[in-house]
Amino acid sequence: MKQNTMRLAWRGVLLATAGLLAAAPAFAQTSVARSLAATCANCHGTDGHAKDGMKTLAGKPADEIIKLVSEFRTGQRPATIMHQISKGYTEDQIKMVAEYFAQQPAK
Protein backbone atom coordinates (compact mmCIF):
# COMPACT_ATOMS: atom_id res chain seq x y z
CA MET A 1 0.00 0.00 0.00
CA LYS A 2 2.69 2.40 1.07
CA GLN A 3 4.80 1.54 -1.93
CA ASN A 4 1.85 1.85 -4.28
CA THR A 5 1.01 5.31 -3.04
CA MET A 6 4.62 6.35 -3.32
CA ARG A 7 4.88 4.95 -6.80
CA LEU A 8 1.73 6.68 -7.92
CA ALA A 9 2.84 9.98 -6.48
CA TRP A 10 6.26 9.68 -8.07
CA ARG A 11 4.75 8.69 -11.37
CA GLY A 12 2.68 11.86 -11.28
CA VAL A 13 5.78 13.96 -10.70
CA LEU A 14 7.72 12.20 -13.42
CA LEU A 15 4.88 12.49 -15.90
CA ALA A 16 4.46 16.15 -15.15
CA THR A 17 8.21 16.75 -15.53
CA ALA A 18 8.42 14.70 -18.73
CA GLY A 19 5.47 16.62 -20.11
CA LEU A 20 7.15 19.93 -19.37
CA LEU A 21 10.41 18.83 -20.94
CA ALA A 22 8.73 17.43 -24.04
CA ALA A 23 6.69 20.57 -24.54
CA ALA A 24 9.58 22.95 -23.91
CA PRO A 25 11.50 22.94 -27.24
CA ALA A 26 8.38 23.28 -29.41
CA PHE A 27 7.07 26.08 -27.22
CA ALA A 28 10.42 27.85 -27.11
CA GLN A 29 10.58 27.76 -30.91
CA THR A 30 7.07 29.21 -31.15
CA SER A 31 7.73 31.99 -28.68
CA VAL A 32 10.96 32.96 -30.47
CA ALA A 33 9.08 33.14 -33.79
CA ARG A 34 6.34 35.14 -32.09
CA SER A 35 8.86 37.62 -30.68
CA LEU A 36 10.60 37.96 -34.05
CA ALA A 37 7.27 38.58 -35.78
CA ALA A 38 6.44 41.16 -33.11
CA THR A 39 9.37 43.27 -34.33
CA CYS A 40 7.35 43.75 -37.56
CA ALA A 41 4.12 44.69 -35.75
CA ASN A 42 4.81 48.43 -35.36
CA CYS A 43 4.09 48.81 -39.09
CA HIS A 44 2.42 45.54 -40.11
CA GLY A 45 0.08 45.27 -37.12
CA THR A 46 -0.09 42.89 -34.18
CA ASP A 47 0.31 39.34 -35.53
CA GLY A 48 0.39 40.82 -39.04
CA HIS A 49 -3.11 42.34 -38.95
CA ALA A 50 -2.25 45.74 -40.44
CA LYS A 51 -4.28 48.93 -40.30
CA ASP A 52 -4.81 51.09 -43.42
CA GLY A 53 -1.79 51.84 -45.56
CA MET A 54 0.43 48.89 -44.61
CA LYS A 55 0.53 45.36 -45.92
CA THR A 56 -1.29 42.71 -43.91
CA LEU A 57 0.84 39.59 -43.44
CA ALA A 58 -1.53 37.47 -41.35
CA GLY A 59 -2.70 34.39 -43.19
CA LYS A 60 -0.44 34.94 -46.19
CA PRO A 61 1.32 31.78 -47.40
CA ALA A 62 4.83 31.50 -45.91
CA ASP A 63 6.39 30.96 -49.34
CA GLU A 64 4.89 34.20 -50.59
CA ILE A 65 6.30 36.19 -47.65
CA ILE A 66 9.72 34.54 -47.96
CA LYS A 67 9.84 35.29 -51.71
CA LEU A 68 8.86 38.92 -51.15
CA VAL A 69 11.43 39.49 -48.42
CA SER A 70 14.15 37.72 -50.42
CA GLU A 71 13.47 40.00 -53.37
CA PHE A 72 13.72 43.02 -51.09
CA ARG A 73 17.06 41.72 -49.78
CA THR A 74 18.57 41.26 -53.24
CA GLY A 75 17.16 44.55 -54.50
CA GLN A 76 15.17 42.69 -57.18
CA ARG A 77 12.00 44.29 -55.85
CA PRO A 78 12.05 48.08 -55.32
CA ALA A 79 11.33 49.34 -51.81
CA THR A 80 11.47 52.49 -49.73
CA ILE A 81 12.55 50.77 -46.51
CA MET A 82 12.14 46.98 -46.64
CA HIS A 83 15.46 46.43 -48.45
CA GLN A 84 17.16 47.93 -45.37
CA ILE A 85 15.13 46.13 -42.71
CA SER A 86 15.14 42.70 -44.41
CA LYS A 87 18.94 42.68 -44.34
CA GLY A 88 18.82 42.78 -40.55
CA TYR A 89 17.43 39.24 -40.30
CA THR A 90 18.94 35.86 -41.23
CA GLU A 91 17.22 33.57 -43.74
CA ASP A 92 16.26 31.25 -40.88
CA GLN A 93 14.70 34.14 -38.97
CA ILE A 94 12.74 35.26 -42.03
CA LYS A 95 11.47 31.69 -42.48
CA MET A 96 10.33 31.59 -38.83
CA VAL A 97 8.57 34.93 -39.14
CA ALA A 98 6.91 33.95 -42.45
CA GLU A 99 5.65 30.67 -40.97
CA TYR A 100 4.34 32.49 -37.90
CA PHE A 101 2.38 35.01 -40.01
CA ALA A 102 1.09 32.22 -42.27
CA GLN A 103 -0.40 30.52 -39.20
CA GLN A 104 -2.31 33.63 -38.10
CA PRO A 105 -5.97 33.62 -39.10
CA ALA A 106 -6.74 36.23 -41.76
CA LYS A 107 -9.42 38.66 -40.59
Binding site: M6, G12, A16, A24, S31, A38, N42, I81, Y89
Partner: protein, 426 residues
Protein backbone atom coordinates in the same frame (compact mmCIF):
# COMPACT_ATOMS: atom_id res chain seq x y z
CA UNK B 1 -2.43 3.41 11.02
CA UNK B 2 1.32 3.80 11.00
CA UNK B 3 1.23 2.63 7.42
CA UNK B 4 -1.24 5.33 6.50
CA UNK B 5 0.91 7.98 8.12
CA UNK B 6 4.03 6.88 6.35
CA UNK B 7 2.08 6.55 3.12
CA UNK B 8 0.94 10.06 3.57
CA UNK B 9 4.47 11.10 4.43
CA UNK B 10 5.67 9.44 1.26
CA UNK B 11 3.06 11.26 -0.73
CA UNK B 12 3.93 14.53 0.95
CA UNK B 13 7.58 14.00 0.10
CA UNK B 14 6.67 13.44 -3.54
CA UNK B 15 4.33 16.40 -3.46
CA UNK B 16 7.07 18.52 -1.90
CA UNK B 17 9.38 17.49 -4.70
CA UNK B 18 6.76 18.44 -7.26
CA UNK B 19 6.43 21.74 -5.44
CA UNK B 20 10.18 22.20 -5.50
CA UNK B 21 10.23 21.55 -9.23
CA UNK B 22 7.51 24.11 -9.66
CA UNK B 23 9.43 26.52 -7.46
CA UNK B 24 12.54 25.99 -9.57
CA UNK B 25 10.21 26.71 -12.44
CA UNK B 26 9.10 29.73 -10.47
CA UNK B 27 5.68 29.50 -12.03
CA UNK B 28 3.72 31.97 -9.99
CA UNK B 29 0.45 30.80 -11.45
CA UNK B 30 0.77 27.21 -10.17
CA UNK B 31 -0.13 28.26 -6.66
CA UNK B 32 -3.47 29.55 -7.90
CA UNK B 33 -2.73 33.25 -7.61
CA UNK B 34 -1.64 35.10 -10.71
CA UNK B 35 1.78 36.69 -11.14
CA UNK B 36 1.49 40.42 -10.51
CA UNK B 37 3.07 42.95 -12.82
CA UNK B 38 2.83 46.67 -12.12
CA UNK B 39 3.71 49.04 -14.95
CA UNK B 40 4.62 52.67 -14.28
CA UNK B 41 4.02 54.89 -17.30
CA UNK B 42 1.52 54.45 -20.12
CA UNK B 43 3.60 55.72 -23.04
CA UNK B 44 4.84 53.64 -25.96
CA UNK B 45 6.85 51.37 -23.64
CA UNK B 46 4.47 50.84 -20.74
CA UNK B 47 1.27 50.54 -22.78
CA UNK B 48 2.82 48.01 -25.16
CA UNK B 49 4.22 45.97 -22.27
CA UNK B 50 0.80 45.83 -20.59
CA UNK B 51 -0.92 44.93 -23.86
CA UNK B 52 1.48 42.14 -24.78
CA UNK B 53 1.34 40.58 -21.32
CA UNK B 54 -2.40 40.19 -21.88
CA UNK B 55 -1.83 38.85 -25.42
CA UNK B 56 0.95 36.40 -24.57
CA UNK B 57 0.50 35.75 -20.86
CA UNK B 58 -2.20 33.12 -21.20
CA UNK B 59 -4.37 34.86 -18.61
CA UNK B 60 -1.84 34.02 -15.90
CA UNK B 61 -0.61 37.55 -15.27
CA UNK B 62 -2.39 40.30 -13.39
CA UNK B 63 -1.39 43.63 -14.99
CA UNK B 64 -1.80 47.08 -13.42
CA UNK B 65 -0.72 50.21 -15.27
CA UNK B 66 -0.24 53.52 -13.47
CA UNK B 67 -0.30 56.64 -15.64
CA UNK B 68 -0.72 60.24 -14.57
CA UNK B 69 -2.47 61.41 -17.75
CA UNK B 70 -6.07 60.48 -18.63
CA UNK B 71 -5.12 59.46 -22.18
CA UNK B 72 -2.12 58.76 -24.38
CA UNK B 73 -0.88 61.66 -26.52
CA UNK B 74 1.75 60.75 -29.08
CA UNK B 75 5.01 62.66 -29.39
CA UNK B 76 5.56 61.24 -32.88
CA UNK B 77 3.23 63.21 -35.22
CA UNK B 78 2.96 66.07 -32.68
CA UNK B 79 5.10 68.36 -34.87
CA UNK B 80 2.25 68.20 -37.39
CA UNK B 81 -0.05 69.59 -34.69
CA UNK B 82 2.32 72.48 -34.02
CA UNK B 83 2.25 73.40 -37.72
CA UNK B 84 -1.55 73.12 -37.79
CA UNK B 85 -1.73 70.01 -39.99
CA UNK B 86 -3.26 67.74 -37.35
CA UNK B 87 -5.50 68.30 -34.33
CA UNK B 88 -4.38 67.19 -30.88
CA UNK B 89 -7.35 64.74 -30.93
CA UNK B 90 -5.79 63.06 -33.99
CA UNK B 91 -2.73 62.06 -31.94
CA UNK B 92 -4.64 61.16 -28.75
CA UNK B 93 -5.52 57.54 -27.94
CA UNK B 94 -7.62 56.42 -24.98
CA UNK B 95 -6.66 53.66 -22.56
CA UNK B 96 -10.03 51.94 -23.11
CA UNK B 97 -8.42 49.32 -25.38
CA UNK B 98 -6.09 48.22 -22.59
CA UNK B 99 -8.93 48.30 -20.04
CA UNK B 100 -11.05 46.06 -22.28
CA UNK B 101 -8.17 43.56 -22.31
CA UNK B 102 -8.24 43.37 -18.53
CA UNK B 103 -5.39 45.75 -17.73
CA UNK B 104 -6.16 47.65 -14.56
CA UNK B 105 -5.43 51.22 -15.67
CA UNK B 106 -4.97 53.55 -12.72
CA UNK B 107 -4.75 57.28 -13.31
CA UNK B 108 -2.43 58.37 -10.56
CA UNK B 109 0.97 59.48 -9.41
CA UNK B 110 3.63 57.10 -8.11
CA UNK B 111 5.44 58.51 -5.09
CA UNK B 112 7.75 55.66 -4.24
CA UNK B 113 8.86 52.11 -4.84
CA UNK B 114 9.71 49.68 -2.04
CA UNK B 115 11.89 47.20 -3.91
CA UNK B 116 12.37 45.00 -0.83
CA UNK B 117 8.68 44.60 -0.03
CA UNK B 118 7.93 44.80 -3.78
CA UNK B 119 5.32 47.50 -3.51
CA UNK B 120 4.56 50.64 -5.48
CA UNK B 121 3.22 53.57 -3.47
CA UNK B 122 0.75 56.00 -4.97
CA UNK B 123 0.02 59.61 -4.05
CA UNK B 124 -3.47 58.68 -2.79
CA UNK B 125 -1.85 56.46 -0.15
CA UNK B 126 -2.68 53.15 -1.82
CA UNK B 127 -0.09 50.48 -2.53
CA UNK B 128 0.29 48.03 -5.38
CA UNK B 129 2.19 44.81 -4.66
CA UNK B 130 4.17 43.26 -7.51
CA UNK B 131 6.20 40.21 -8.45
CA UNK B 132 7.88 42.17 -11.23
CA UNK B 133 7.78 45.94 -11.76
CA UNK B 134 8.16 47.62 -15.14
CA UNK B 135 9.17 51.27 -15.12
CA UNK B 136 8.67 53.11 -18.40
CA UNK B 137 8.76 56.66 -17.06
CA UNK B 138 10.03 58.70 -19.98
CA UNK B 139 12.25 61.72 -19.48
CA UNK B 140 12.68 64.59 -17.08
CA UNK B 141 14.05 67.93 -18.22
CA UNK B 142 17.30 69.15 -16.65
CA UNK B 143 16.13 72.73 -16.16
CA UNK B 144 19.04 73.53 -13.87
CA UNK B 145 21.31 73.32 -16.92
CA UNK B 146 19.48 76.21 -18.61
CA UNK B 147 19.49 79.43 -16.62
CA UNK B 148 16.21 81.28 -16.19
CA UNK B 149 14.01 78.32 -17.08
CA UNK B 150 13.31 76.74 -13.68
CA UNK B 151 9.83 78.18 -13.12
CA UNK B 152 6.51 76.98 -14.51
CA UNK B 153 5.89 80.49 -15.85
CA UNK B 154 9.16 80.42 -17.80
CA UNK B 155 8.33 77.01 -19.26
CA UNK B 156 4.97 78.32 -20.37
CA UNK B 157 6.44 81.43 -22.01
CA UNK B 158 9.26 79.44 -23.64
CA UNK B 159 7.64 76.08 -24.51
CA UNK B 160 9.61 72.86 -24.97
CA UNK B 161 6.74 70.93 -26.60
CA UNK B 162 8.91 67.83 -26.06
CA UNK B 163 6.16 66.04 -24.13
CA UNK B 164 3.01 66.03 -26.22
CA UNK B 165 -0.16 67.68 -24.90
CA UNK B 166 -0.58 71.13 -23.39
CA UNK B 167 2.95 72.10 -24.39
CA UNK B 168 2.30 71.13 -28.03
CA UNK B 169 -0.69 73.47 -28.10
CA UNK B 170 1.25 76.27 -26.38
CA UNK B 171 3.90 76.22 -29.08
CA UNK B 172 1.27 75.96 -31.81
CA UNK B 173 -0.48 79.03 -30.42
CA UNK B 174 2.75 81.03 -30.32
CA UNK B 175 3.60 80.05 -33.89
CA UNK B 176 0.14 81.00 -35.15
CA UNK B 177 0.35 84.35 -33.33
CA UNK B 178 3.85 85.16 -34.63
CA UNK B 179 4.08 88.14 -36.98
CA UNK B 180 5.22 87.79 -40.58
CA UNK B 181 8.91 88.53 -40.61
CA UNK B 182 9.41 87.04 -37.17
CA UNK B 183 12.09 84.61 -36.01
CA UNK B 184 11.20 81.12 -34.71
CA UNK B 185 14.25 79.75 -32.89
CA UNK B 186 14.60 76.17 -31.70
CA UNK B 187 17.33 75.11 -29.29
CA UNK B 188 18.54 71.47 -29.41
CA UNK B 189 20.46 69.87 -26.52
CA UNK B 190 23.48 67.62 -26.85
CA UNK B 191 22.65 64.01 -27.75
CA UNK B 192 21.39 61.72 -26.33
CA UNK B 193 17.91 63.16 -26.13
CA UNK B 194 14.40 61.89 -26.93
CA UNK B 195 13.69 61.55 -30.68
CA UNK B 196 16.97 62.47 -32.46
CA UNK B 197 15.35 63.68 -35.74
CA UNK B 198 12.45 65.43 -33.96
CA UNK B 199 13.90 68.96 -33.69
CA UNK B 200 14.93 68.98 -37.36
CA UNK B 201 11.50 67.73 -38.41
CA UNK B 202 9.97 70.52 -36.32
CA UNK B 203 12.13 73.13 -38.06
CA UNK B 204 10.89 71.80 -41.44
CA UNK B 205 7.21 71.80 -40.49
CA UNK B 206 7.36 75.24 -38.88
CA UNK B 207 9.05 76.51 -42.06
CA UNK B 208 6.38 74.79 -44.17
CA UNK B 209 3.70 76.69 -42.25
CA UNK B 210 5.59 79.97 -42.40
CA UNK B 211 6.34 79.64 -46.11
CA UNK B 212 2.63 79.34 -46.80
CA UNK B 213 1.40 81.92 -44.28
CA UNK B 214 4.21 84.27 -43.21
CA UNK B 215 6.85 84.06 -45.92
CA UNK B 216 9.11 86.85 -44.61
CA UNK B 217 9.78 84.87 -41.42
CA UNK B 218 12.81 82.82 -40.49
CA UNK B 219 13.55 79.58 -38.63
CA UNK B 220 16.77 79.45 -36.67
CA UNK B 221 18.16 76.12 -35.43
CA UNK B 222 20.51 76.49 -32.46
CA UNK B 223 22.11 73.07 -32.14
CA UNK B 224 24.36 72.21 -29.19
CA UNK B 225 25.76 69.34 -31.25
CA UNK B 226 28.69 69.54 -33.67
CA UNK B 227 26.47 68.49 -36.53
CA UNK B 228 22.92 67.43 -37.44
CA UNK B 229 22.31 64.34 -35.28
CA UNK B 230 19.96 62.43 -37.59
CA UNK B 231 19.17 62.15 -41.34
CA UNK B 232 21.59 65.01 -42.06
CA UNK B 233 21.64 64.79 -45.86
CA UNK B 234 17.85 64.62 -46.15
CA UNK B 235 17.18 67.47 -43.73
CA UNK B 236 19.81 69.81 -45.14
CA UNK B 237 18.47 69.14 -48.63
CA UNK B 238 15.02 70.27 -47.47
CA UNK B 239 16.42 73.32 -45.68
CA UNK B 240 18.44 74.45 -48.70
CA UNK B 241 15.99 73.33 -51.38
CA UNK B 242 12.36 73.40 -50.28
CA UNK B 243 12.79 76.25 -47.82
CA UNK B 244 15.70 77.97 -49.57
CA UNK B 245 17.19 80.38 -47.10
CA UNK B 246 14.27 80.41 -44.68
CA UNK B 247 15.97 77.99 -42.29
CA UNK B 248 19.36 78.78 -40.82
CA UNK B 249 21.33 76.05 -39.07
CA UNK B 250 23.96 76.87 -36.45
CA UNK B 251 26.00 74.04 -34.93
CA UNK B 252 27.94 74.14 -31.62
CA UNK B 253 25.36 76.57 -30.21
CA UNK B 254 24.66 75.31 -26.73
CA UNK B 255 22.02 77.22 -24.81
CA UNK B 256 23.29 78.54 -21.49
CA UNK B 257 20.49 80.78 -20.33
CA UNK B 258 17.21 82.32 -21.41
CA UNK B 259 16.05 85.86 -20.82
CA UNK B 260 12.41 84.93 -20.67
CA UNK B 261 10.93 88.46 -20.80
CA UNK B 262 12.68 89.33 -24.08
CA UNK B 263 12.64 85.77 -25.48
CA UNK B 264 16.40 85.86 -25.84
CA UNK B 265 18.54 82.74 -26.07
CA UNK B 266 21.90 83.30 -24.40
CA UNK B 267 24.55 81.09 -25.98
CA UNK B 268 28.23 80.79 -25.17
CA UNK B 269 29.38 83.49 -27.60
CA UNK B 270 26.16 84.97 -28.85
CA UNK B 271 22.66 86.17 -28.00
CA UNK B 272 19.63 85.52 -30.17
CA UNK B 273 16.36 87.36 -29.72
CA UNK B 274 13.43 85.41 -31.10
CA UNK B 275 9.72 86.01 -31.59
CA UNK B 276 9.02 82.41 -30.67
CA UNK B 277 11.67 80.61 -28.66
CA UNK B 278 11.36 76.83 -28.42
CA UNK B 279 13.79 75.27 -25.97
CA UNK B 280 14.28 71.52 -26.02
CA UNK B 281 16.27 71.13 -22.80
CA UNK B 282 18.81 68.45 -21.82
CA UNK B 283 17.12 65.30 -20.50
CA UNK B 284 17.53 62.37 -18.13
CA UNK B 285 15.41 59.46 -16.97
CA UNK B 286 12.26 60.68 -15.20
CA UNK B 287 12.12 61.41 -11.47
CA UNK B 288 10.55 58.12 -10.40
CA UNK B 289 13.58 56.31 -11.86
CA UNK B 290 15.79 58.45 -9.64
CA UNK B 291 13.61 57.94 -6.55
CA UNK B 292 13.70 54.20 -7.13
CA UNK B 293 17.49 54.14 -7.47
CA UNK B 294 17.36 52.96 -11.09
CA UNK B 295 19.63 55.67 -12.52
CA UNK B 296 23.17 54.33 -12.67
CA UNK B 297 24.80 55.91 -15.75
CA UNK B 298 26.09 59.52 -15.72
CA UNK B 299 23.45 60.37 -13.14
CA UNK B 300 21.01 60.38 -16.10
CA UNK B 301 20.10 56.95 -17.49
CA UNK B 302 19.15 53.45 -16.35
CA UNK B 303 21.43 50.59 -17.37
CA UNK B 304 19.61 47.34 -18.07
CA UNK B 305 20.19 43.71 -19.06
CA UNK B 306 19.24 43.54 -22.76
CA UNK B 307 17.94 39.96 -22.49
CA UNK B 308 15.21 40.98 -20.03
CA UNK B 309 15.29 44.80 -19.74
CA UNK B 310 15.84 44.18 -16.00
CA UNK B 311 17.57 46.99 -14.14
CA UNK B 312 21.22 46.44 -13.26
CA UNK B 313 20.64 48.47 -10.11
CA UNK B 314 17.43 47.04 -8.60
CA UNK B 315 16.32 43.39 -8.97
CA UNK B 316 12.82 42.52 -10.24
CA UNK B 317 12.47 45.97 -11.75
CA UNK B 318 12.57 46.35 -15.54
CA UNK B 319 13.08 49.65 -17.34
CA UNK B 320 11.86 50.55 -20.83
CA UNK B 321 12.14 53.34 -23.35
CA UNK B 322 13.79 56.75 -23.24
CA UNK B 323 14.89 56.29 -19.61
CA UNK B 324 17.29 53.48 -20.52
CA UNK B 325 20.98 53.89 -21.18
CA UNK B 326 20.94 53.21 -24.90
CA UNK B 327 22.91 50.47 -26.65
CA UNK B 328 25.26 51.68 -29.43
CA UNK B 329 23.40 53.61 -32.18
CA UNK B 330 20.04 52.88 -30.54
CA UNK B 331 17.73 55.91 -30.68
CA UNK B 332 15.38 57.08 -27.94
CA UNK B 333 12.18 56.64 -29.91
CA UNK B 334 8.60 55.57 -29.34
CA UNK B 335 9.14 52.79 -31.87
CA UNK B 336 12.12 51.49 -29.90
CA UNK B 337 10.22 51.68 -26.58
CA UNK B 338 7.44 49.57 -28.14
CA UNK B 339 10.05 47.04 -29.33
CA UNK B 340 11.77 46.92 -25.95
CA UNK B 341 8.37 46.36 -24.32
CA UNK B 342 7.74 43.26 -26.44
CA UNK B 343 11.20 41.94 -25.59
CA UNK B 344 10.46 42.51 -21.90
CA UNK B 345 6.97 40.95 -22.13
CA UNK B 346 8.40 37.74 -23.61
CA UNK B 347 11.16 37.71 -20.97
CA UNK B 348 8.75 38.27 -18.06
CA UNK B 349 6.57 35.38 -19.23
CA UNK B 350 9.64 33.14 -19.52
CA UNK B 351 10.85 34.20 -16.06
CA UNK B 352 7.43 33.50 -14.49
CA UNK B 353 7.43 30.11 -16.21
CA UNK B 354 10.91 29.35 -14.91
CA UNK B 355 12.45 29.36 -18.37
CA UNK B 356 15.57 31.10 -19.60
CA UNK B 357 14.63 34.15 -21.66
CA UNK B 358 15.29 34.16 -25.42
CA UNK B 359 19.08 34.26 -25.83
CA UNK B 360 18.92 35.97 -29.24
CA UNK B 361 16.44 38.83 -29.04
CA UNK B 362 16.09 41.33 -31.89
CA UNK B 363 14.95 44.95 -31.92
CA UNK B 364 14.21 47.07 -34.93
CA UNK B 365 13.58 50.76 -35.31
CA UNK B 366 11.97 53.04 -37.84
CA UNK B 367 11.70 56.78 -37.37
CA UNK B 368 9.68 58.61 -39.99
CA UNK B 369 9.93 62.40 -40.16
CA UNK B 370 8.00 64.89 -42.23
CA UNK B 371 10.03 67.45 -44.14
CA UNK B 372 6.81 69.14 -45.29
CA UNK B 373 3.08 68.68 -44.74
CA UNK B 374 3.00 65.72 -47.14
CA UNK B 375 6.56 64.50 -47.66
CA UNK B 376 8.26 61.99 -45.41
CA UNK B 377 11.72 60.50 -44.86
CA UNK B 378 12.89 57.68 -42.62
CA UNK B 379 15.82 56.17 -40.80
CA UNK B 380 15.72 52.45 -40.00
CA UNK B 381 17.92 50.04 -38.07
CA UNK B 382 17.90 46.42 -36.88
CA UNK B 383 19.67 45.41 -33.67
CA UNK B 384 20.69 41.96 -32.44
CA UNK B 385 21.97 40.76 -29.09
CA UNK B 386 25.73 40.31 -28.91
CA UNK B 387 26.39 37.68 -26.25
CA UNK B 388 30.09 38.54 -25.86
CA UNK B 389 29.47 42.25 -25.40
CA UNK B 390 26.13 41.70 -23.61
CA UNK B 391 24.48 44.50 -25.50
CA UNK B 392 22.37 45.07 -28.59
CA UNK B 393 24.37 45.97 -31.71
CA UNK B 394 23.19 47.07 -35.15
CA UNK B 395 23.19 44.21 -37.67
CA UNK B 396 25.98 44.90 -40.18
CA UNK B 397 24.62 45.82 -43.59
CA UNK B 398 21.09 46.53 -42.37
CA UNK B 399 19.21 49.79 -41.96
CA UNK B 400 19.63 53.14 -43.62
CA UNK B 401 17.80 56.29 -44.65
CA UNK B 402 15.48 57.29 -47.50
CA UNK B 403 16.94 57.98 -50.92
CA UNK B 404 14.89 61.18 -51.05
CA UNK B 405 11.87 62.77 -49.40
CA UNK B 406 8.57 61.58 -50.93
CA UNK B 407 4.82 61.73 -50.54
CA UNK B 408 4.80 57.90 -50.44
CA UNK B 409 6.89 58.01 -47.29
CA UNK B 410 4.68 60.76 -45.88
CA UNK B 411 1.77 58.35 -46.28
CA UNK B 412 3.82 55.54 -44.74
CA UNK B 413 4.55 57.78 -41.76
CA UNK B 414 0.82 58.26 -41.16
CA UNK B 415 0.21 54.52 -41.61
CA UNK B 416 3.05 53.78 -39.22
CA UNK B 417 1.32 55.90 -36.57
CA UNK B 418 -2.03 54.12 -37.01
CA UNK B 419 -0.35 50.74 -36.75
CA UNK B 420 1.92 51.42 -33.79
CA UNK B 421 -0.92 53.06 -31.82
CA UNK B 422 -2.99 49.91 -32.39
CA UNK B 423 -0.03 47.68 -31.54
CA UNK B 424 0.57 49.60 -28.31
CA UNK B 425 -2.92 50.48 -27.09
CA UNK B 426 -5.81 48.70 -28.82
Amino acid sequence: MSQTISSRRGFLKAAALAGALAAVGGCASLGGSKAKVVVIGGGYGGATLARYLTLWGGGKIDVSLVERNPSFISCPMSNLVIAGYRKIEDITVSYDGLKARGVRVIQGEVTGIDATARKVKLADGSELPYDRLVVSPGIEFMWNDVGGMATAAAQEAIPHAWKAGTQTLLLQKQLMAMKDGGVFAISIPRAPYRCPPGPYERACLVADYLKKNKPKSKVLILDANEDVVSKKGLFTKAWQGTYGGMIEYRNNNELKEVDVASRTAILEFDKVKADVLNVVPPQRAADIARTAGLINVNNRWCDIDWLTMESKAVPNVHVLGDATFPAPTMPKSGHMANQQAKLAAAALIDLFDGKAPNANPMLMNTCYSYVSEKQGIHVSSVHHYDAAKKTMLPVTGSGGVSVAASVIEGDFAAAWARNIWADSLS
